[in-house]
Symmetry: C2
Subunit: 213 residues, 2 copies
DNA sequence: GTTTTCATGTTGACAGTGTCAACAACGTGT
DNA sequence: ACACGTTGTTGACACTGTCAACATGAAAAC
């Protein structure tokens, strides 16, 4: 039960092979795309034989699912930290959150694609799905808080959550996959995100702009 | 120069191998996903030797890009036909178009993913990119027409196009990739699309009902 | 009509991959 | 001290993308 965490002396029994595999796979994914992620290359990166990962993952898809899960957890943690830092719960906070989401998606397009466009079956990796669900809860709560703070007024609140998430996800996806498409207008991702949010979150400003003013 | 179109007698010289490859690949993609699309299997489907496709496509990616291109062309043709059938150019026509887009994306999730989430490089397949651009043009024109008809009033018109497309694309993507996600509320794709469009395209119905009135 | 040429299809071969069964090394409880 | 289970290794297999060398047949040149 001792968490020996690879002190370096033991060539056998790596100590933390599962996490090491995920880290190596994430690194390969970031640098060389999905086609660059090979079980054999992953093993090579961490100086382990080619089929060692099979003691920790059922197959290659299992490792990739673990990578996607890691991505979702990183996303929800980042978002939760951001929301914790800023105590205010108005539209400005929601916008900050969505910008953070966009930055996350743009920072590692290959990982983002793995998270949102790899053909995992519906109930194949419940851990991954749960992690994804947790990330969405953070966004949903931000919208609900914004509404309770009175700066968001909509009938179909869950519809707004759905719309916001679809829009931002779609925008990130388009920027990552078709960056030269004319509809993106050669603008940067966050500039376009602001255009989208200006339409989706009209600041109903006339009476009171309390947030940043 | 005779377009002999495979009369069946000639086992050699297929006659239309390039298109046959694309069709077979599309069929395999639809039925078995991307991992089921194999050059060897494609060749097998059309009774041709394994490396025959190399006379028509530089490599496997080339064939896949041709499939994606086919998808984009099908999309823009469907959309253009729809717009031609209905002569009206109001918000209702725009909604019909976006529903058609959603139906297209849901009809073949694997193809949709290939079109919007396969790591083709930016300038790698100009034909495919051009076909994609043409499809977007149809949508853009529908929005412009809707605006000219007076039923759409927005400041940033291109921003609205961007927002609509991001939303619908994102929604389709989420439905395809994470169909059980709670934010989708177990509703069908087109029901959720209506929720999104109710927010994005407030009907400002003939007489009154200013959205935030 | 013969011959040349060239696009198109075939076969053999190779390196690389995911995966598994059989084996080896190590930590651990008895 | 010793058996055992966990973890890592090696050999092997089927399959893949890809290419060079060869085969075929239709059209062009003569």
């Amino acid at each position: 039960m001792s968490g020996k965490a690879q002190v370096g002396g033991d060539p056998y029994h790596h100590g933390d092979l599962a996490n090491a595999c995920v880290r190596a796979a994430l690194s390969l994914l970031h640098d060389h795309g999905l086609s660059g992620v090979t079980l054999r290359e992953v093993a090579r990166c961490i100086n382990v034989s080619r089929s060692a990962p099979y003691r920790h993952f059922a197959d290659k898809r299992g490792l990739l699912a673990a990578c996607a899960r890691h991505g979702f957890e990183q996303l929800s943690q980042t978002a939760a930290r951001l929301l914790a830092d800023y105590r205010t719960r108005d539209v400005a906070a929601l916008r900050r959150l969505l910008h953070e989401y966009a930055r996350f998606g743009a920072a590692d397009p290959h990982l983002y694609r793995l998270m949102f466009a790899s053909d995992f079956e519906v109930d194949e990796y419940p851990d991954m799905t749960a992690a994804a669900e947790r990330a969405f809860y953070v966004l949903q709560n931000a919208v609900i808080s914004g509404q309770q703070a009175g700066t968001l007024a909509v009938e179909d609140r869950d519809g707004l959550v759905l719309t916001l998430w679809s829009s931002v996800h779609g925008l990130v996806s388009l920027h990552n996959e078709l960056p030269t498409c004319s509809v993106l207008d050669t603008k940067a991702l966050e500039a376009n995100l602001d255009r989208v949010l200006d339409i989706l979150l009209p600041t109903t400003v006339p009476s009171a702009v309390q947030a940043t003013a």
